[in-house]
């Protein structure tokens, strides 16, 4: 064991872990579930929902596991009657300011709050009181914001500031009326928002949803097809959500090695072309001033003939290839191979060199 390693006990079980880890990280790695709402692996631990509280021997109050680092020989209980009571009260408090309209909520079936309410068997009736009654905000083309469903976990504001670094939204106001919003509560626009939808991807409830996919199917009705984004060379993975053979929306693949669930506007919302009536499905060849559909063989033969003609006329050294940094490595390699071998030129370059 190195000096960075130590041993702790969770629910009576000895677990070896790293010094810098938090209790939650150690527990998750060991397969011990601790409920959370404000935790997202992509973000700095926040400690806002307080559901991840655990008991630590020798400490007279429960500690949030997401922000508490492990210390040597720590003895932790993730469940107890007192912890359950507090968790139930916390969920109940959240539900006391929540519409609880799961029947028609976009997020039903993929809602962390719904799952926890079910698991802990609570509703919002115990602490009935004032509830937010704010209008749905659809002041932009991509994101629907239903403030009444917001549980103030801060995940949307943190992903916007910590990961995207766009700073579009932040918590505004104080006390019971604190909520995530844009500066001066202006509508989202290209002036203040990138429309990457990262906030939607991390929202644990139905407060932030993809506007284009609303009403087009429940999460559990969708076939999730993992794919790699074709817009650039980064290689982000995501799931195409398919219902009745139509792509309805895109959701994050949090296990994707490259992007860990993060996406930009193109990956998340640029899928309209798939079912577009104007989508070009075959090569087009210009004849007499207008385009005509052609087969791939026809098109490639035409291009090859034109290249040969140019090389014969000017020589291979007058030709070259220039590829995009948005192509994959393999595509870039193929281009360079093709220019050197097929054309016979060393004039190969890539825009990333600029």
């Amino acid at each position: 064991m190195t000096d960075k390693q130590l041993t702790i006990k969770i629910n009576g079980k000895d677990i070896a872990c790293e010094k810098e880890d938090t209790i939650l990280e150690v527990a998750r790695k060991a397969g011990i579930r601790i409920p959370t709402l404000c935790y997202d692996e992509r973000l700095e631990a926040y400690g806002g929902c307080r559901l991840c509280i655990v008991e630590v021997k020798g400490v007279n109050r429960p500690l949030p596991s997401c922000t508490t680092p492990v210390t040597s020989n720590m003895e932790i209980s993730t469940e107890s009657s007192a912890i359950t009571r507090i968790r139930r009260n916390l969920i109940s408090l959240i539900l006391s300011n929540h519409p609880n309209d799961c029947m028609r909520c976009e997020q039903t079936g993929a809602c962390d709050l719904q799952d926890l309410a079910y698991e802990y068997r609570v509703d919002g009736k115990r602490f009935e009181g004032e509830m937010w009654n704010l209008p749905i905000r659809e002041d932009n083309p991509f994101i629907t914001y239903e403030p009444n469903k917001c549980i103030l976990c801060g995940r949307c504001t943190r992903i916007c500031n910590e990961v995207v670094m766009a700073g579009t939204i932040e918590l505004v106001g104080r006390g019971f009326n604190t909520m995530p919003d844009t500066a001066f509560r202006k509508p989202r626009s290209l002036a203040n928002c990138e429309f990457c939808g990262q906030c939607v991807s991390t929202c644990p409830t139905g407060a932030l949803t993809d506007r284009k996919g609303r009403g087009r199917g429940r999460s559990y009705e969708m076939k999730k097809v993992k794919t790699t984004c074709s817009y650039c060379g980064t290689g982000c993975n995501f799931f195409l959500n398919v219902k009745n053979n139509k792509v309805v929306k895109v959701t994050s693949d949090y296990d994707a090695p490259v992007n860990k669930g993060n996406l930009c506007i193109k990956g998340r919302y640029g899928y309209d072309f798939i079912h577009s009536a104007e989508r070009i499905k075959t090569p087009l060849i210009r004849r007499g001033g207008s385009f005509h559909e052609a087969t791939w063989d026809e098109a490639l033969e035409l291009i090859a003939a034109k290249f040969k003609e140019l090389i014969d006329k000017h020589g291979p050294e007058k030709s070259g290839g220039f590829s995009s940094s948005r192509c994959t490595n393999e595509e870039n390699y193929l281009l360079s191979k093709w220019v050197r071998c097929a054309i016979g030129s060393n004039n190969v370059d890539n825009c990333a060199r600029v």
């Binding site: 307080r50 109050r61 602490f127 918590l171 006390g175 019971f176």
Partner: protein, 604 residues
């Protein structure tokens, strides 16, 4: 009323040949509001007319004043040939008579002089921090140097940082911001922490309703705070300090700016201060008035330009504070104690106070008390001494019911515990806390449910919204309290308040949430019958909750004065001289005018 005399002796200045004359006028926030700048102008003008040369010295006293009487501003000291006379309630038009009768003819204007209560207020106090407030000109560094200012910093810099820390540890000084952590220990932890640069922050974000200790210290003696920061900075190895002060304190900020400028000119701030090789600079950062920014991690976030919200500890600021660097955050009062500790020694300081709480504490004494104001008392003094000796007893000689310490985070101490000593441990043991030093005295006309509702509405309003228990939990508690005061309390509400309050204390992220339920829980603990009376009997025993007033005149209490009859706007009160009043319920519009008018609380 006899003339106020100095303790030494007699008045009767000579009519001719005035050798020495000092006039001190309060120019604290309170004094200025009462018109002290006009009083100063009037003195200048009047003295000019008579060709008198006088040194009109500025004097710092704020709203309640270091001298203690908020209601008696503008207070003016006239020191003629070494004999001090203090006037109260002075207005510009009164100046001419003071100059004519007192200064020129040596006969103080008796009817305007302060009374004996002015002195009894001070006798039980032990002044370390407030000693110079109101004595020296806060805008003149030479005045501070004249009373031995910056000697503490000079001495500290001649010692090793380790020796300074040991001295502060030995003094037993504990953080005056509320939690009472040992200052020397905090410094030691920071000095041992790896990472540079290190920072020292002065927390001047005083936010408790009714608290103004820090403001008074800064307004009255800003250099003592700077000196404390220099000592602290040197001890922990920090060359840069921040003063985080709320923007609502413009006068304090102005005086700090002046003080920093003057200290830099003297070589007490900047490079190689006191020729010791140690560099130290101070920057003022103004807060935007969020209560939560008094919490140290929220304060750090605010200085860093983020939304003022606390984060979980650990890591503690001494390890990972401002910009991720080791940082010590000390309260204004803590820092202002340091010069005296260094110059007079740890053992001197440790000799004041109780076993575990050393030194003095400044309180903002307010509420239903005769002499409200700012007081400085040794730790361990009893509540009784504070209320009856310094405070002069209850207003209108009503009955003491409870004392709230620690502001909205503190708890209520019932009158039965009046002999308890005021120190960190005792206050916590009874469910309250020291807090920053608010002390609200309540009489039997205070409804405890209404009072805890007031404090909870403050904390709910100031919750940062980060964690669920504080944001939603305190809201629900507030709603329950509100319905109780409106006569709509339900069976089980008290139990629900206790359960919710306990869980909020256990599960909140920061000190605000952890202490927000204290006023409710402590009043339920000591005054549960009052809650029950509201819920079960529909009665507010203190007759405060409007919805529970019955508008019946108690035949037992009515003294037949007829005041209610005279104020009733709807002619609902039947009364004749020497007859008890009766309210006609059909005509009564429940406006509450009779209620306010009745001196005997006879309207139920």
């Amino acid at each position: 009323m006899t003339a106020t005399k100095t303790k030494k002796g007699e008045t009767n200045a000579k009519k001719s040949a005035i050798k020495e004359l000092t006039i001190r006028v309060c120019v604290g926030t309170g004094g200025l509001a009462a018109g002290s700048s006009d009083v100063i102008d009037a003195f200048y003008k009047e003295l000019d007319v008579h060709g008198l040369k006088a040194h009109v010295e500025k004097k710092c006293v704020n709203k309640t004043g270091c001298r203690g009487f908020c209601a008696k501003d503008v207070l003016v000291d006239v020191i003629l040939e070494g004999i001090l006379s203090t006037y109260q309630f002075i207005k510009p038009e009164m100046v001419s008579r003071i100059v004519g009768e007192h200064i020129l003819n040596g006969n103080p204007v008796e009817e305007w002089l302060v009374g004996p209560d002015y002195h009894t207020f001070h006798d039980k106090q032990t002044k370390i921090l407030l000693k110079q407030c109101g004595q020296i000109d806060p805008e003149d560094i030479d005045a501070y140097l004249g009373i031995g200012g910056y000697e503490g910093a000079r001495k500290a810099l001649s010692l090793t940082p380790f020796e300074v820390i040991e001295e502060v540890k030995a003094s037993g000084l504990r953080g005056r911001g509320g939690a009472g952590f040992l200052t020397g220990l905090k410094w030691e932890l920071c000095s041992m922490s790896k990472g540079t640069p290190k920072y020292i922050i002065c927390n001047a974000d005083e936010g408790d309703p009714g608290a103004f200790m820090d403001r008074s210290v800064i307004e009255g003696n800003p250099h003592s705070v700077l000196e404390g920061m220099i000592i602290g900075g040197y001890a922990i190895g920090s060359t840069y300090g921040y003063i985080y002060i709320r923007a609502e304190y413009p006068l304090a900020i102005e005086r700090l700016e002046i003080a920093i400028r003057q200290a830099a000119e003297k070589g007490f701030l900047g490079k190689n201060i006191f020729n010791s090789g140690f560099d130290f600079d101070i920057k003022i950062k103004q807060g935007a008035g969020a209560f939560i920014c008094g919490e140290e991690t929220a304060l750090i976030a605010s200085i860093e330009g983020k939304r003022g919200m606390p984060r979980s500890k650990p890591p503690f600021p001494v390890n990972k504070g401002l910009w991720g660097r080791p940082t010590v955050i000390n309260n204004v009062e803590t820092l202002a104690n340091l010069p005296s500790i260094v110059t007079q020694g740890a053992s001197w300081y440790a000799s004041i106070g109780s076993e575990k709480s050393k030194g003095t504490k400044v309180f903002a004494l307010t509420g239903k008390i005769k002499n409200s104001g700012l007081i400085e008392v040794p730790m361990g003094i009893s509540l009784k001494e504070i209320i009856y000796d310094i405070g002069g007893g209850m207003e209108k000689n009503r009955k003491l019911k409870a004392v709230q310490t620690g502001g909205p985070s503190g708890g209520c101490i019932p009158a039965s515990h009046i002999n308890m000593p005021v120190d960190y441990e005792s206050l916590i043991s009874i469910g309250s806390m020291m807090g920053s030093g608010g002390m609200v005295v309540m009489d039997d006309a205070t409804c405890m449910v209404d009072m805890s509702k007031f404090f909870l509405s403050f904390t709910q309003h100031e919750s940062c919204g980060k964690c669920v228990p504080c944001r939603v939990g305190t809201k629900r508690m507030l709603e329950i309290l509100t319905r109780i005061t409106e006569g709509k309390g339900r069976e089980g509400d008290i139990e629900l308040l206790i359960e919710l309050g306990t869980d909020i204390k256990l599960s909140s992220l920061c000190g605000l949430g952890m202490s927000a339920p204290n006023p409710v829980l402590s009043t339920i603990n000591f005054f549960r019958d009052e809650y029950e009376a509201h819920i079960k009997d529909g009665i507010c025993p203190a007759h405060v909750c409007k919805a529970l007033r019955q508008y019946i005149v108690s035949a037992e209490l009515c003294k037949m004065c007829g005041k209610c009859f005279r104020v009733c706007p709807s002619g609902a009160i039947m009364w004749e001289p020497k007859k008890k009043a009766v309210i006609d319920k059909l005509k009564c519009i429940k406006c509450g005018a009779c209620f306010e008018a009745c001196p005997f609380k006879s309207i139920m």
